[in-house]
Amino acid sequence: MLAIVDYGVGNLFSLRSSLSAIGAEAVMADTPEGLNEADRIILPGVGAFADAAERLKKSGLFDAILKEAAAGKPILGICLGMQLLMEKSYEFGEHGGLGLIKGSVRPISDVIPEGFKIPHIGWNELKFEGHPLFKYIKSGECVYFVHSYYAAGSPSVIAVTDYGAELTASVADKNVMGCQFHPEKSGKTGLNILKSFCEM
């Protein structure tokens, strides 16, 4: 059974529907016990980093995610959920993350040339060399991005996208994975990524 971490940020309707479309049964988990019962976990998220990290801590889910990650359960962070996996974020100050993936979250304006709009919104190519998360898709397929920050300086990048500069699209360190883009909004390509995660 798959648990979606429910900590009051973002719209989980589409994520749940997309999982159900690939035949995966997902439950919403807003307690550490809920995560403990699951065999894999998705950490979604939209909005500001600091607020999201605070909500995770208050509900005890922050430590619970660390515990489940250490136990080896597959964990997938999506969008802000991926950014929360990193060590820290520089969005409106400096804030600590889960630290499950090395690297920090920085504004894309640091690296993209002038003339590129922020946020990076729309369909862009996913470029990778190979990872079990991408076993049903080909490098170059498009996925849907909406973000103004990205994961920088990470040795765990497994996919990038080109927006005037190479931006981290996906990270992974063993059982912990993250997608900056929204697989639940990326058509068949996205469903195929979720499918491979559910088979891990």
Binding site: F13, S17, P119, H120, I121, G122, C142, E184, T189
Partner: protein
């Protein structure tokens, strides 16, 4: 490289899809859920649902449609029409919308965009402007093109972006439903230097019109159309092949 988007728009009244010419004389066409799935399979990059019902019964039918679409179609969904308050944002986002487009609501309540962007993020707030030439100036119209507001379109869009709107839909009333091409001049004059994504709307009559749009309006990120897709005059996957052949970056799927 970021792709130029092709967006199919569905006007929904009493749970069914309609499309008018110059905003009058709507007639029923098809089941919105079926149509949304069809578009998504054909390679539409995004769908926009405009709620053109006035009654509360119609509004319930609309959110039911939206919920059904969001449980079957996995591309970004934008909702517009009847968005007048913060509560309206909440209502449609809960039913699976990813973005909310405001038009008259933002004219009536000048704080709506700011409030919504603060709560849901700018990526969620789309300003949709119905614009028409009036004595040589671009002016904003309200209520589906019926009300002349006197507001200057260039200033209005700047205001909305400053308030936190994350995308602009520029709909030219002058070319809407005429099917003779997008309003290239208006798009460049009003949105040529916008720093947020620009979606061109109004006037698409053929696949070639989209080629012309992206070649002549460098700042356009997406082209939106309704009737040419509904009546299957232009197939989205064929349109994308044509754009690709013309060197315009699109998602081929």
């Amino acid at each position: 490289m970021l792709k130029k988007r092709i967006i199919a728009c569905l006007d929904v009244r009493d749970g069914k899809v309609t499309k008018g010419v110059n905003f009058v004389g709507n007639k029923d066409i098809a089941d919105p859920v079926e149509l949304a799935e069809y578009y998504s399979d054909c390679g539409a990059d995004e769908l926009v649902f405009y709620d053109i019902t006035a009654s509360s019964d119609g509004r319930k039918l609309f959110t039911d449609v939206l919920t059904k679409v969001a449980s079957k179609v996995f591309i970004p969904l934008t909702v517009g029409g009847g968005i007048n308050s913060f509560e309206d944002f909440d209502r449609v986002l809960k039913c699976g919308a990813d973005k909310v487009s405001v038009n008259s609501g933002a004219i009536a309540d000048r704080t709506l965009i700011r409030k919504a962007a603060k709560r849901y993020g700018s990526q969620c707030v789309v300003i949709s402007a119905d614009v028409k030439r009036h004595k040589g100036e671009y002016r904003v119209y309200g209520r589906g093109g019926r009300d002349y507001t006197g507001i200057d379109a260039v200033e209005w869009i700047k205001y909305c972006v400053d308030e936190g709107a994350g995308e602009i839909v520029l709909n030219s009333i002058d070319t809407d439903g005429v099917r003779n091409g997008f309003d290239i001049e208006m798009l460049n004059d009003v949105c040529g230097t916008a720093k947020v994504p620009v979606i061109a709307s109004g006037g698409a009559g053929s696949a070639e019109d989209f080629v012309e749009l992206f070649k002549s309006v460098p700042n356009a990120d997406a082209g939106l159309a309704a009737s040419i897709f509904h009546y299957r005059e232009v197939a989205i996957h064929e349109l994308k092949k044509l754009l690709d052949k013309n060197g315009i970056p699109v998602r081929i799927c």
